[in-house]
């Protein structure tokens, strides 16, 4: 063993249709450069050929090696074994398949649901007739290119969808990766399918919870939640396309108006503007059961004294 080599224990959550789920531990020698894909390769080649996992490029381009490493959704190739030991303070590295997808074998999951989400947003450019016939060529301004670049970097690894809480509870939400891809084409000046894309994307965008899990786990720093926020801004121009975008737009507008009016967020007022007086009263009656309704009514917020300055900071919106 070289001086810098260390032994780590790797605890893998395994699964096969015949045997079900079980945990298996391996011991592997690593140095400070050893990626988790290399760890898994050594286990498979030197200790246990029955271990199944996906990996290909080992450089965060192919998107094959998504899994949970010590509880965090990660690409195995971008995870250095000894950095995990440092992060957790334990010599044992726990490796599990990605959450949210059916497990086929060991660390290999079925990504059909992920691909279906991506296909729903038609993840390719729809050029104009003239471009297709060779009568003109595509032009893209540098500022558009730089805006779109980030959202075009998706490698379809599925980590963001695997960790997204909204995907789990809402079949109408497309999920973060599809939204990043969708926005990339929705706002591409060369694309000709704006209306079709807007219909697919706008309402779904209002079904995101802004939990920033996708921002956190994306190995390509795409920040899908930012694409979702940008997609929501199309609601004002295009109009809502369903209940979520209809309520959501009203709610966001009410928040903006409340701040411009008083400098504060007046929760009760925003709720009434979003859901209407009748629904708000019904909610209020419900809250009385826990003795909470009076708190909402008794809000004691004051208006910001520097409201004129605040309005200037908001671009003089009133």
């Amino acid at each position: 063993m070289k001086e810098l080599d260390k032994e780590v224990k790797v605890k893998v959550k395994r699964f096969s249709e015949e045997k079900g789920t079980w945990w298996q531990e391996y011991t592997v020698k690593v140095d400070k450069y050893t990626q988790m894909t290399e760890v898994l390769k050594r286990i498979k080649e030197e200790q246990d050929p029955t271990l199944s996992y996906r990996a290909s490029c080992h450089m965060a381009v192919c998107g094959s090696c998504g899994m949970r490493i010590n509880g965090a959704p990660r690409l195995a190739c971008r995870t250095i074994a000894l950095e995990e030991v440092d992060r957790t303070g334990s010599d044992t590295i726990v490796v599990e398949p990605m959450d949210g997808y059916p497990v086929l074998k060991d660390l290999v999951v079925d990504l059909t649901d992920f691909y279906n989400r991506m296909y729903k947003v038609k993840p390719r450019l729809h050029p104009s007739e003239d471009v297709l016939k060779g009568k003109s060529e595509h032009r893209l301004k540098p500022e558009d290119q730089s805006r779109l670049w980030k959202f075009a970097q998706c490698i379809w690894c599925g980590l963001c969808v695997s960790s997204c809480p909204a995907v789990r509870i809402d079949v109408e939400f497309l999920g973060p990766a599809a939204h990043a891809k969708g926005y990339r084409f929705l706002s591409d000046p060369r694309d000709t399918s704006f209306e079709e894309r807007a219909k697919v994307l706008i309402d779904s965008a209002w079904r995101c919870t802004y939990c920033y899990m996708c921002y956190e786990v994306c190995p390509r720093d795409i920040e899908p939640v930012e694409a979702i926020k940008l997609t929501r801004t199309y609601t004002t121009k295009f109009g809502p396309t369903g209940d979520a975008s209809s309520f959501g737009e009203r709610h966001s507008k009410a928040v903006e108006e409340s701040i411009a009016e008083t400098g504060m967020l007046q929760g009760g007022k925003v709720y009434v503007k979003t859901y209407g007086l009748v629904n708000s009263l019904i909610s209020m009656i419900e809250l009385m059961k826990d003795g909470k309704a009076t708190k909402l009514i008794m809000e004691r917020q004051k208006k910001v004294r520097g409201i004129d300055e605040l309005r200037k900071l908001l671009g003089e919106k009133q």
């Binding site: 939990c211 009203r250 400098g263 929760g267 909402l296 917020q301 910001v304």
Partner: protein
């Protein structure tokens, strides 16, 4: 220790108990909270998409006031306010186009932000600047036998590069506080998931479903109640919990209280003094703790 204090709209409105308990805890531990004068709303998590420049500008207005107070840390009990201010600073520093636009808007106003001040969560300040030893020493009524689920939610943790206090995938700040007051911390898989509040304006049923996942997760892990670090989690998990119970026909409750409410109880304040909700008070009574 003197710190700038930003309660946020909700702690000055429908979740005033958060403000009350936070001030009591700070006072007990010798932390002087100096409220930022004439502070404004952070945007509530929604303004940045409609007006990114305005969002950054109004958050910098608060931080500029903190700098004028000669302070750098602006402590807040609300994760959304924390997130909003820190994200505004992050974008202002990282995006030169946005910075130019924000600087144009702030011209001729009182806003002069040098980049020194930033928002801090009260939990971070308690752990890093006050320290567990001092907290333990202030405990008059150890909450022995109380199983407390530690719910972190989203915005205090993520994005990790912007929040920067603890590992967003395996946080333990709240568990450290729970253990310090003699109670038993209970972790559960959903402790870093969303409470659903941000969905309440667009997909209420979805939001309530997410809240149910948190309540059920805490209950399945054997908790008596849960603590959280956010004014808006408080609205979702405490104030509107009754809606979750109706939607899922539940015959049980999972009291959700703010982190400093728990600390204040252990420091000897009464349930009335920290405006504890009736469900939480009932649990403490059953446990013989009040």
């Amino acid at each position: 220790m003197k710190l700038a204090y930003y309660p946020g709209c909700t702690a000055h409105g429908s979740a005033v108990e958060i403000d009350v308990a936070t001030r009591k805890v700070a006072q007990t531990l010798g932390v002087e909270l100096k409220e930022v004068e004439d502070w404004n709303c952070c945007g509530g998590g929604f303004l940045d998409e409609r007006d990114p420049v305005g969002h950054a500008a109004i958050n910098l207005r608060n931080l500029s006031k903190v700098e004028k107070m000669g302070l750098e840390k602006m402590v807040t009990p609300c994760s959304v306010c924390l997130h909003s201010h820190r994200l505004a600073v992050h974008k202002y520093e990282e995006d030169p186009v946005l910075k130019e636009e924000v600087d144009k808007r702030t011209q001729g106003t009182t806003v002069q932000y040098s980049g020194k001040a930033n928002a801090e969560h009260i939990v971070w300040v308690l752990l890093r600047d006050v320290g567990l030893e001092k907290i333990k020493a202030a405990v008059k009524k150890p909450l022995v036998g109380l199983k407390v689920a530690t719910y972190y939610g989203c915005q205090m943790l993520r994005p990790g590069e912007v929040m920067g206090f603890e590992d967003p995938h395996s946080p333990h700040s709240l568990a450290d506080l729970v253990a310090a007051v003699g109670a038993t911390p209970v972790t559960f898989p959903a402790m870093t998931y969303c409470c659903g509040f941000p969905l309440m304006g667009s997909n209420e049923k979805g939001g309530l479903r997410l809240a149910y996942n948190i309540m059920k997760g805490a209950r399945d892990a054997g908790a008596d109640l849960l603590i959280h670090p956010c004014s808006l989690c408080h609205l979702q998990l405490d104030v509107t919990q009754v809606k979750v119970r109706d939607m899922f026909s539940l015959d049980w409750t999972m009291p959700a209280i703010y982190a400093t409410q728990l600390l204040a109880l252990a420091f000897g304040f009464s349930p009335e003094e920290v405006q504890l909700g009736r469900n939480a008070a009932e649990v403490l009574r059953q446990k013989g703790l009040i």
